[in-house]
Every structure is written in C-alpha cells, then in structure tokens.
C-alpha cells in the first residue's frame, strides 16, 4: 500500500528500517534470551536522531509528531519490539511534559529526551490500580515549597534505566479521579528507588520494574499543569501514544508475515513449496490483509493525533485495539505456517507471538479500549440528538 509519505518521513522510515535490519535483528534473539536492556541500540537510535523525530524544533527536535514516531516504532518492531517499546516508552514519559509542562519544564527536560541522552518513563499503574486508574494509592502531600510522594508504581516500562519519570499521585483523595496530579521525578532524587526487573512473557529486552517512592521530596515546580489534572494528563497522553502501540503491533505482525512468506516459499513438502498449497496461501493472504488494514487505521489515527483536531480518544483507541488484535492473530498464524520450526527459538516467530500479547494489554487493555470507543459513540449520538 502507498501512504504517500513526505520525503522526510520516507527518510525516517528508511533509517529506522536500516537500523532495525543491521543492528537490531542480529541481536534480537540474544536480547530476548538474556533479558538485557538494549543500551547499545538506544545509543545508536540517539545518534541517528530518532528520539528527535516527534519533538518540536524549539526543544531540539525535528518537529514531527505521533506519525513520525509511529514510523520508527513500526520499523523497530519488525526486528524486536522489546527494543521498540524501550524507545517508545521514552515518548510515553515525555508526552505529559510536552502537553502540560510549563515552558521552563519543557526547556529543562525535552532537549535531553530529544537527544536520547536521557530516557523518560511514565508511572501510573499500581498493584491495585490497573484499568481502574482512579484507584491509585500513591500520594503526594504538599509540604511548604515541596511535595512529598509515597507509594509504589508497578510494571513501569524503562523504570530503573530512565532518568525522567512522570508520576501520577493522589493530591486530594476526596475528589476521586479529579484528585490526582502529575509530577516530574528525576532519578537520583532521595526516596526514589526501583524494584527488581520483572520476568516477562515477551518484550524481554525492555525493562519493567516497580517505581518505589518513600518520602520522596520534590520541589513544587515539578508539578505538571495544576493539581487535580493527573487523570486528564494520563488520558490525553494515551491519546497521543496509543497509535504508537498500534504501530508496534503492526510492526510485529509485518515482521512475522515476512518470515512466514519467505518460509512458505522455501519449505518443501510433498515435493512442492508449501506456498503452493491453498491452505497456506489463504492464511498468508488473510495475515497480509489484516496487517495492512491495521496499518491504515494506525496511520490515520496518528495523523489525527498530529492534526490538532479536538477529541481523538476514539480513533486512538480503535487503532490500538484493532492493530493489537490483528498482531496477536497474525503472529499465532505465522507460527502455524512455520509448523514445528515456528515453535522453536531458532526461528523468530515464537518470540513475535510472545511479544504480541502485551500489545492487547498495556496502555489500556483492549476491553478498556472498547469501553472508550463505546462511550465516545454514545456521547456523539447524544450530542447529535441534542441539536
């Protein structure tokens, strides 16, 4: 499919593809096996200016947006989505600052994030607050010119390796969802520590840890926006980053499809390549069609996110939901096409299948995405009937 990328977007896509092919693919299996954070690849991405693509020029970026970031994430995910999510999670940590940060906060943090010198992370989820964001128990108490944070965040991507954290904490419990606020916490702040690295099914190169806040004192200047905005910060951030999860899913699916097609051409059974069997052909055709449909939806949502149109929650949720479901199905089918070989770690598709699963879960489970979509549908209909 032709998406009519601009010259600059084409350049970004080709560069990301080159790094994925030359520097990521050869080490993907090893990174998965060793569950090692891909520092070397992060510095290659930084030197290639890829952390700059979605950052405005005034903060050291190249002035692109969600769409450009999605192009990079998709290409990296074809080779290793553990690498891709480590890259993308820095964006997840940075979008709250871009969206709600003061000029001073943006000038202070964004240039280092754009250069890739420092990674960012976003800390929202807790042991008892997953889909139900209003259940968070981490607190931030104002004390003179400071806030003092206490609580434990769970399953935070890039935790421990990132240096800039956006943490959502409760500032006024009586206000429920409107009683939380977003704060910037820098690594090295006394009272900030990290749990052990979690053992995961997939995306094993990425690091996932607890973020532990014990009387962690930060200056009040680190509040993002104003008190009570925490929930809004999180939701508006996800609107910007869910197309990126969609792009990750599209990349994994495309990577698996590419392996499956090549394998089907080469694998001979009953004296002919298995690509000549209709049973295999139909699987490949469906995989390709679904992946392309997912890509089209993700690109549309990403472009909407960059366009400045009002509410993009529904589009972002649809892109994330559809692409991740497609990704799961396509990777399972890719393993099937490769048969016994697909099940073995010598071939990359079993990893892709393991990596696929998380895209249906994080940044809002696909059930939450459906709730968002349905809610928006009802709201839109109600608005129309009022007119």
């Amino acid at each position: 499919m032709e998406y009519f990328l601009t010259e600059e977007q084409q350049m970004i896509k080709e560069l990301a593809a080159r790094i994925a092919e030359e520097r990521v693919k050869p080490v993907a299996a090893e990174l998965d096996e060793k569950e090692e954070f891909p520092w070397e690849i992060m510095s290659i991405l930084a030197e290639a200016d890829l952390f700059r693509v979605w950052v405005p020029e005034e903060y050291g970026g190249l002035g692109g947006g969600v769409f450009e970031q999605a192009l990079v994430v998709e290409e990296l995910s074809k080779a290793c989505s553990g690498v891709a999510v480590s890259y993308a999670a820095s964006g997840l940590g940075a979008f709250p600052i871009l969206l709600y940060g003061s000029e001073e906060q943006k000038n202070r943090y964004m240039p280092d994030i754009a250069s890739g010198k420092r990674l960012a992370a976003f800390a929202l989820t807790e042991a008892d607050a997953g889909s139900d964001v209003s259940a968070i128990a981490t607190t931030a108490v104002k004390d003179g010119d400071d806030y003092v944070l206490n609580g434990t965040k769970q399953w935070i991507t890039n935790a421990g390796d990132a240096e800039i954290y956006v943490v959502i904490a409760v500032t006024d419990k009586s206000k429920g969802a409107r009683g939380s606020s977003a704060f910037i916490v820098e690594k090295g702040t006394p009272g900030l520590s990290f749990g052990k690295k979690e053992k995961k099914l997939g995306i094993r190169a990425s690091s996932t840890r607890e973020v532990i806040l014990e009387n962690c004192r930060i200056p009040k200047e680190n509040l993002l926006g104003r008190e009570g905005l925490g929930f809004v910060v999180a939701m508006k951030t996800f609107d910007k980053t869910r197309p990126g999860i969609g792009a990750q899913a599209v990349g994994i699916a495309q990577g698996a499809l590419d392996v499956a097609v090549n394998y089907a051409r080469e694998r001979v059974q009953f004296d002919q390549p298995i690509s000549s069997f209709q049973g295999v052909q139909f699987m490949l055709a469906d995989m390709a069609t679904q992946t392309e449909a997912a890509r089209a939806l993700v690109y549309s949502a990403a472009k909407m996110a960059d366009s400045g149109v009002g509410n993009i929650s529904k589009a972002a949720a649809m892109a994330k939901l559809f692409a991740s479901d497609v990704c799961m199905k396509v990777t399972v089918d890719a393993v099937q096409v490769l048969g016994g070989y697909g099940y073995m770690r010598e071939y990359p598709v079993e990893k892709m299948m393991r990596d696929a699963k998380i895209t249906q879960i994080y940044e809002g489970t696909n059930q939450i995405q459906r709730s968002i979509i349905a809610l928006e549908l009802v709201r839109e209909a109600a608005r129309k009937s009022r007119k």
Partner: protein, 259 residues
C-alpha cells in the same frame, strides 16, 4: 587537524554481474554506492575529528553522479566534500587517479592526514593510496587496523599482516589506508542527512587543480586491459554427511582412493 578522506563511487558489489561477451562489469541498472572500504576511512576520520577537534574533507574523483557519495559523507559528519569531475579525468587508471587526487589535496589547506579505504570494490587494485603518497612525497602505511596514537607531527599505527600486525611510527602529513577491522562505521543521523541534502559540493576541473592534461584520464593511463574473463571453476566441493566419526571414515576412504 585537517584530515582528507578519499572516497569512490562504485557499483554495488552485492548486485555485481559480469557481461560474459565483453568481460566487463555491467553498470546499467546497478545501484551506485560508496565503496564499502571507504566507510571505514570516513569513520576513522570522524573519530579523529571528534577526539582532536579537527575538520574532515571528503574527496572523490568521478562523474557528476559521484556527488551522491560525497553527500553520504557529509551525512555521516564530514565538513566538506570536493568532487573532481570533468572529461579530462575520464578513463583514468590508478596512476592518473593518484596524480589528480594529489593535486587536489595540494589545493586544500594544511592537510595533516589522508585516509583511504584499503582498496575499491570494483577495481580491487589497492594502488591509489600508495600512489597518492608517492605523488605527494609523503610516507604511507597500508592496511592500518588501528591508530594507536596521533599528535601534531607524528602517529603510531598498527598494520595488519598475514600473521599478525606491525607497529609503525610515521611522520605527518602522511597517507594511510585502512582495513575493516579498524572500526564499525556509523549510520548517519537524520540531521546529518538533512544537512547533506542542502550541502553544496564544489566540482573542481583539471584546470582548477593545475593538472597537466597529458597525465590525466585515458591519456595519462599506461594501464591497458588485455582481456577480462570470468575464471572457469574446476572441480566441485562435496559435503560429507553423518557423525564426525562417519565423516572421518568417508574422508579416509576418499583420500585412500586418490593415493
């Protein structure tokens, strides 16, 4: 420190095919890329530049299309590109090429070091680096695998040999050619690529560098290609299968049959 890197545009070796009739490399429909060995020369020059606060000029001789590889070099981080181009240069062998490049180097200001890839992937002669040094009357070392040390007027390098390496000290300015063991070339970043798109690459002709036309191009090239041909392959490899023990027995039987 001013470093000059000589680079060449070549047909992509991974797509290379030979015309069986003429014995010549088929250039049509084949992508033209920067000679792969030259990437190591570029990378080394950029590392020296970053460590010693210098500047790097990339120099190439070729048709106007060779501007592309100079832009690739700018994307990687070199400061300037210079293209030697014009009808006079066409058909040059390594002697005429070395002569022209040497004159171009002399046009540049206070050059401390010239780095070339060990050879070009199309001609495979490995002669231009040493030829350049001879024309400039400067010392040279080929097949450098490591620069141990460099200062204002001298450097110490390791030269790769069949059995190990030699450590050589030489005075600057000098010419070195480098092997792929020396570094891992960087992938150019987006900002570099954008700078490269806008970069102006000056094209110098024979007159500008003050060259004697008789020593340039085909006229200045004593090398005549007598015949090129694809070598015929003799014999065929045979894979032995089975366990190591079974393979050893098979091998022994085959060898015994030959004795």
């Amino acid at each position: 420190m001013h470093i000059v890197v000589c680079i060449k545009q070549v047909p992509d070796p991974s797509q290379a095919r030979i015309d069986r009739e003429t014995g010549l490399v088929i250039r049509e429909g084949v992508d033209k890329i920067i000679n792969p060995y030259d990437l190591y020369a570029l990378e080394e020059s950029l590392r020296l530049k970053e460590a010693h606060d210098g500047q790097v000029t990339a120099l190439s001789m070729g048709p106007p299309s060779a501007e592309d590889v100079l832009k690739d070099a700018v994307a990687m981080g070199v400061d300037h590109g210079v293209l030697l181009s014009g009808r006079d240069f066409a058909g040059a062998d390594t002697l005429a090429t070395s002569y022209a490049l040497a004159l171009a180097v002399q046009k540049l200001e206070s050059v401390d070091l010239i780095i070339c890839g060990k050879q070009a992937a199309d001609g495979d002669t490995a002669q231009v680096g040493p030829g350049l040094a001879a024309n400039l009357d400067r010392p040279h070392v080929t097949e450098v695998r490591k620069i141990r040390h460099i200062e204002e007027d001298k450097m110490v390098v390791e030269r790769l040999t069949d059995t190990g390496y030699e450590v050589i000290r030489l005075s600057l300015p000098a010419v070195i050619t480098v092997v792929k063991e020396i570094n891992e070339p960087r992938i150019p970043g987006l900002r570099g690529m954008m700078r490269a798109k806008k970069a102006q690459i000056p094209a110098w002709d024979a007159e500008y560098i003050g060259a004697d036309p008789q020593r340039l191009g085909l006229k200045g090239s004593p090398t005549r290609v007598w015949r090129t041909f694809e070598p015929t392959r003799h014999g065929q490899g045979e894979m032995l299968r089975g366990t190591a023990g079974e393979q050893a027995v098979l091998l022994w039987e085959k060898l015994r049959g030959r004795l």
